[in-house]
Each structure stands twice: as C-alpha cells, then as structure tokens.
Symmetry: C2
Subunit: 283 residues, 2 copies
C-alpha cells in the first residue's frame, strides 16, 4: 500500500474505484483523473488560483435556473460542446455538417404548410428559405421533417421575451413531399450576444473575448432511416463568422443571402440538406 504522493496521484485516485464499476465509467473516470491531475501539475496551480476556480464553478452552478444553463454556456465557449458534436457526428463527405444544438429549441412548434411565414410579429427583413432534403446520391427524401427556429429582428428568441413576442415566433416544422422540396418565409437572422451578465460572460471579458454569435438560423432535419441533422445556416458576410463565441461556424454552412427585392428588403436563402442513412454515419 502506498499513500497519495505528487508522483503517484493519478494511480492513487483511480485505484480507489470499486470492482463493480462499469468498464465505460471506469474509462471515463480514469481519463478525467489523468487530465485533471496533469493540468494541476503542468501549471503548478497555486492555492489562490484553485480558490478562484472553486468560486467560479460554484457561481456558475448557482446562476443556473429553469431558463438559464450557465454550465452549457461554459461548455460552449470552451469549444467542448462543438467537440462533443464533432466526435459524435462524423458524417461522410457530402452530408450536411452539424453544429451546436443551442439552448433555444423548444418542443411543440406547429407544423406549417410550405410557403407559410414563421415570423408572426411581422418584424425584421423577410427572407424566403428554400431547397431540398436529399440523400447522399441526390435523391429527394419524402416525408422529412424540417424544424426551424431563429432569433427575431433584435436578436432574441421568443422564449427569451415571452411578454413581447407571440408564442412560436420564428419557429415552425415543415414536412417534405416526394420531391423533397421545402420553402417557407421567415426573417434574415441577426447576430446576437450570448448571455454575458454571469460568470461565463465575466470569464470571456477577462480573456479578451466578445460574446457574439454570427447571424444564423437553426435547423433540425429528420427522416425515417436517416441520421438526424442538427445544424445552422449562417449569413455570408457576417462580421462574427470568424469569431463565433461558441465556435459553431463551419464553412459549408455559410450561404449567401440574396437580396431579391430591394424595395421591401426581401431576401432569399437556398440550402439543400443532405442526409445520410443511419448505417452510413461513421459516428
């Protein structure tokens, strides 16, 4: 029996796990202990720095509520959320790439007819979104569900402003027919900052980082037999594309929004969703 020392610290902690711990939990805890200890040793964390970390984590937990999840925000701004997405969704070349789910999706949005306008308050620059849902060979996918959600013209989701925006403002679900086509009206999305009045916002400021996300519209596309795609489309030219606070941007998801009616500030965005069969997904 050897007691805990600086040298054997990882082994001392890992060895304490019981025999009935599942192999997967043991693998995760062994890796967690290794990296936690290696971090402390590499930087020779001082006691004062450790206290800052304890205080930060405590405040991050305590600001969480039914409508705010500061630990997800922390995961987002450290690139962990995007990394978890990446290792779990290694799609084949040609399939639509995924990005972070984000905290603003809600269940129960209404299914609408093709061509409908999801912008219920009439505010913002109108945009026609259209395209197809296809498989890797370009064949249309029938009966695919396209769920869309977006911030409003001021950068807020309906759930952030329940007293101002109508329910399900800038949200909707659309179902494709045999041609795989979809089309609906919404608004050209605008950039907005993630909530930055809490511990994570203070951390970003200390690190010299801004809290902004480039303008984007969220999509979740599902179809029987195909891997679900959770993604955004980003507005080409947005000033925050190269500095998204949560690292969500992928080049394939940036598309031109074309101004089709200069008088009425009306836009058009064309994007095809390419789904892979569930067995085709490497992840």
């Amino acid at each position: 029996m050897s007691y805990f020392t600086e040298e054997n610290s990882e082994e001392a902690v890992s060895a304490r796990m019981g025999e009935n711990v599942s192999p997967r939990l043991r693998q995760i805890m062994d890796a967690l202990i290794h990296h936690l200890h290696a971090f402390v040793k590499e930087v020779e964390l001082t006691e004062a720095e450790w206290e800052v970390a304890i205080d930060f984590l405590t405040k991050t937990g305590q600001i969480c509520s039914d409508t705010r999840q500061e630990f997800i925000l922390l995961s987002d701004v450290l690139g962990v959320s995007m990394l978890v997405d990446a290792v779990n969704h290694r799609a084949p070349d040609g399939a639509t790439e995924t990005t972070v789910f984000g905290p603003f999706h809600v269940e129960g949005a209404p299914e609408r007819q093709m061509g409908d306008n999801i912008c219920l308050d009439g505010k913002g620059e109108i945009c026609l979104f259209q395209g197809r849902v296809v498989d890797l060979e370009g064949n249309p996918i029938d009966n695919a569900l396209i769920s869309v959600w977006s911030d409003n013209y001021e950068g807020f989701y309906d759930v952030q402003q329940p007293d101002i925006q109508p329910p399900f403002n800038n949200r909707g679900i659309f179902r494709t027919g045999p041609d795989g086509r979809y089309a609906f009206r919404g608004i050209k999305p605008v950039a907005y900052p993630i909530p930055d009045d809490g511990p994570v916002g203070k951390m970003l400021a200390t690190l010299g980082r801004h809290p902004w996300r480039p303008a984007h519209t969220h999509f979740m596309v599902t179809a029987d037999g195909y891997s679900r795609v959770i993604t955004h489309i980003f507005v080409e030219g947005d000033r925050y594309l190269t500095s998204d606070a949560v690292f969500g941007v992928k080049k394939s998801l940036i598309i031109p929004f074309e101004k089709v009616d200069r008088a009425n500030e009306a836009w058009q965005a064309d994007f095809d969703f390419v789904l892979c069969r569930q067995k085709q997904n490497k992840g």
Copy 2:
C-alpha cells in the same frame, strides 16, 4: 482563417484569447483547454454522457451554501486538493509534511494555556497531545502558534452542531515558550464520513467508494520566519488509513496513540512539528 474542427479544436479555442491576457492566465487556460479537449477526444464522450456531466456540475453548484462547499468536496475526492497542496508545499526532507486544510477550520478560536483541555463538553476518550515545535536542525522554536481543531466523539465538528456543542469545542490555540514544547488535552479523534447526501456522495457510491475519513486531529503551526504547516495527525491502526476519501494520509503523519490509563480510557499522542525557514521551502 480556419474554422473549428475536431482536429484543430484546441488551437481554435486558445487562439481566441486577446492580446492583453496575462501570461499566467494564458498558460492556465491553454493547459485547461488542452486537457478538456484531450479528455473528450480520448473517451469520445457521447452527448448523453455530456448531459450527465452538465447536470452533475449544476447540482454540485446548487447544493453549495454558506455552510456547504460541494465543489471543494469534489476537488477533495478526486485528489485535486491534495495535489494542489503537494505542488505548493514541497518541503525539505525532515520537515513536517502537509495535508488538506479541510472545510472545518474557523477563525477566532481562543488561545489557551499549556495543559488546558480543549474538549469543552467532556465527551470522548481523553488524550494528552504533546511534543515540540522545532526547526530542521532540531532547535526549539519560541513563540510558535499551534492551532488545533478536531471532531467530537461522534465525528462532528462544533460548527456542524451549533445547537449541540459549545462554541469552539475541541479547538484551541497554544503558544510555545523558549523550549518549543506544547501540551494540551483533547479527545482521541474518531473516523467520520464526509457529507455524502449530495452529488459528490452519489458519485462516490456509483464509483464503489466509501465516504469515510480516518480519525485525525487538525493542526496549523505558524512561527515568524518559518513556513506555515497545515497538517493532520492520524491515529495509527484506523481502518480507513489506506482508503481516506480525500487522500489526505501520509505515512509520516500516522502516529501511535498510547493508552496510558486503561481505567479512564486516557490516551497520549506525541508529535513534533518540524518547520522549515521560509527560504528553505522548495515550493
């Protein structure tokens, strides 16, 4: 400009830090980002596992209060607290080894006279603690302050039972004279479990670990010109010495408690505190 990918994830996040970030903060964040991302990649953390982690961290923050610090407990049971202690207090051979401070020290304990009894409620097996405070060459240290704190006969500190135990029960401060000697009466400490009704307790149970700490008495010894020593002495023979829930045990801190009066269950524990001059401390 390259966007975030699984391959470049660490660089993508680290590169976002501003130019005015201090070198030390940059070093810490670079190492943190490296180890966080390496952990996710090595275990290929699933989205469901990520959700468990977010939920665990949130609950750990939310159970914290003025009298409970669950994140310190988490740091303790993962060996991080002991590791931070180790990298900050690499004392020369022969100096008294340090261990975790723990959450139960309080300021303002009374200074007492040598020989006094710090057990104010008269409960527990009485023990005479005695020894000397000396330097690395064995010379006595005059005017050293020895602060002692201990659980009671049932394993609770006074601050955990403010309605049951008298204030400063099993606490006191003693000041050495020119001979460096100290002596006081207290109780032979007993083993106790760390708080295990929260997220950390549930984690320990899932990992097949018990929450017990072996019996110990806390000491903080200070003297002008010497490095402060924060340590415990442990009771030789305790069943939890090899499985302390917080990894605080060091061999040099385990001492025999001798039964000196079988009729009255009275014990004696001899321990010398060896302090190093502040410049002698490697840490």
